[in-house]
């Protein structure tokens, strides 16, 4: 996993509430056995028309969204299926951070494990970002802050272990494997019981 310490970008805003992971990547693209290359399917059925041409109405197809690394999404983003293909697709597309007032549990877990910073903001902060699409934000992971163009600043909560992994660019498996002795002891104690 590549380290994520800072994200500086304009925002793309998808204000819809309850954007589910079927919406982020439809199930028909899940027959892959790879993680790479899913970016072209991100928000597929919004992004592409039936004839394969881009849907000009869709936010991410508009010029101002080009190159945006921060997605501001409506409440309860990432609900539904546990498919990790959803964060894989968003990362492959180019997003580094997703901001919402509420993010579904499994999606948030999956995102953080793939270097996609999933940040939950207060209703008021969230509303401000929804109302100001395209503003430039500077996210500092270590400081857990988001700086706004007008000098304002939001702070956000982040699980310390996920933060450590993001900043160091390490995944969590190494930590688990490092506790092999604890795991073996647990298994023995249970078998003895």
């Amino acid at each position: 996993m590549t380290a994520v310490t800072h994200v500086r970008s304009r925002t793309a805003v998808l204000a819809h509430e309850n954007i589910d992971t079927d919406r982020i990547i439809p199930a028909r693209f899940l027959t892959t056995t790879e993680r790479a290359g899913l970016g072209r399917y991100a928000f597929n059925d919004w992004r592409w028309r039936a004839d394969g041409t881009p849907n000009p109405e869709f936010v991410l197809n508009q010029p101002m969204a080009r190159g945006c690394e921060i997605l501001v999404a409506g409440r309860n983003f990432g609900c539904g299926s546990s498919r990790e293909h959803a964060p894989w697709a968003l990362v492959d597309y180019g997003f580094r951070a997703v901001l919402s007032s509420e993010i579904a549990d499994i999606f948030r877990n999956n995102a953080l494990k793939n270097g996609l910073l999933a940040v939950v903001l207060s209703e008021a902060e969230h509303r401000y970002l929804l109302d100001h699409p395209g503003i430039e934000l500077a996210i500092d992971v270590a400081a857990q802050t988001i700086e706004l163009p007008d000098g304002g600043r939001f702070t956000f909560a982040l699980d310390p272990f996920a933060k450590h992994c993001l900043i160091a660019g390490v995944d969590q498996l190494g930590f688990l494997v490092g506790h092999e002795r604890d795991i073996a002891r647990f298994e023995q104690a249970r078998e003895a019981a």
Binding site: D22, T31, N76, C79, S82
Partner: protein
Amino acid sequence: MAARTLFDKLWDAHVVRPETDATPAILYVDLHLIHEVTSPQAFAELRARGLTVRRPERTLATLDHSTPTTPHDDLGQPVYASEEAAAQVAELERNCAEFGIRLNGWDSEHRGIVHVIGPELGATQPGMTIVCGDSHTSTHGAFGALAFGIGTTEVGHVFATQCLLQQKPKSLAIHVDGALPAGVGAKDLILHVIGKIGVNGGTGHVIEYRGEAIRALSMDERMTVCNMSIEAGARAGLIAPDETTFAYLKGRPLAPQGAAWDRAVDAWKTLRSDDGATYDREVRIDARAVRPTVTYGTHPGMAIALDAPVPAAASLQERRALDYMRVEAGRPVAGMPVDVVFVGSCTNSRIGDLRDAADVLRGRRLDPRVRMLVVPGSVAIKREAEREGLDQVFRAAGAEWREPGCSMCIAMNGDLAQPGQLVVSTSNRNFEGRQGPGARTVLASPAVAAASAVAGVVASPQSLSQQPLSQEQAA
């Protein structure tokens, strides 16, 4: 010790290393279920790191998501929707062989939807922690197991260490008081609950379903309830095990036998929330007020009694949902013309569900405009239904009797609805495009689904007023 909830007990019994200020808890996993869609990248990770599956005997695999529900071809081979789907299945077969994992594959009597076969085999047991790269793992909570969905990276964690890093979720008690009215079932109840608490009502929580109406449910019905916990955003759903649970499990192939069975039941009896245990949140639902319930929008929280008027859109979002569904505020969902009916999925594909649908269809015929697919949850359920003659009932009514799998619940195996078609579906998600691009989904119970197939419009069984045709008339 302080009074603990069922969830506390399950959690405490599986903590390998407690949570610290810097790190989450390490939680032990008793049973790891896998399928073809969310496992290949995890196996690839194992190989890349030179790791192995720590406890293959605690891992159980099946084929369900991308598998066809049509009969095998003349050469006895499955007819996949795409080469990719075939390759994905072949990869799971190879991975299971290489890592020594038991696969309920094409030749197995117990191949089927992952959340159907775990319980059916008796692999799902009270007191366990159960995970799967699939959000409907919450189904297994019906047995008093802590069961939840994980991502593929975590599938890799469990392969390598039989453990997960977890922060303890909060607890939410949903008390369902009173008895469900006649003709109202588990699916109506859970849709009603999600309609009340919302699609994010359970986020960050493990739900324990309690109360008279829950205790009265069969295991099949309890699984329907726990299955949809995730649709309220919950991490997991739980029901304390009781005699109903033990009776279901007794004699199943992977359940404990003989003296081990007696010991197990004694231990399982302690798996209940202590009197005086407190929850982070509690909700009360009156079972007597639940009616046949369906969804009218594009998420499972947009649920309402079948005959109640659809509420006016409260937001732009809801406006869009009503437009997509072509539903009119102020009018009920009942009466909307139906194109496809799907009975299946890990929510409603067990034998009790098939019986419910068959009871409505017996001696009746589908409306000629309706296509109906009945997809049993597993090979064993299919056989049982055939022993009972349910397949004959479905076929005589004009429905398609298919091979087991996820099918039109997720529409990645070629079973899908066309743009604009309305599907009355016993599955769990009515998201835009879930059952095919542009398809519209109304979630319902098996009985309502079957009645809608007969009426050609969304309908309750009670509204099919005429007596069923006699067998001769139906033929």
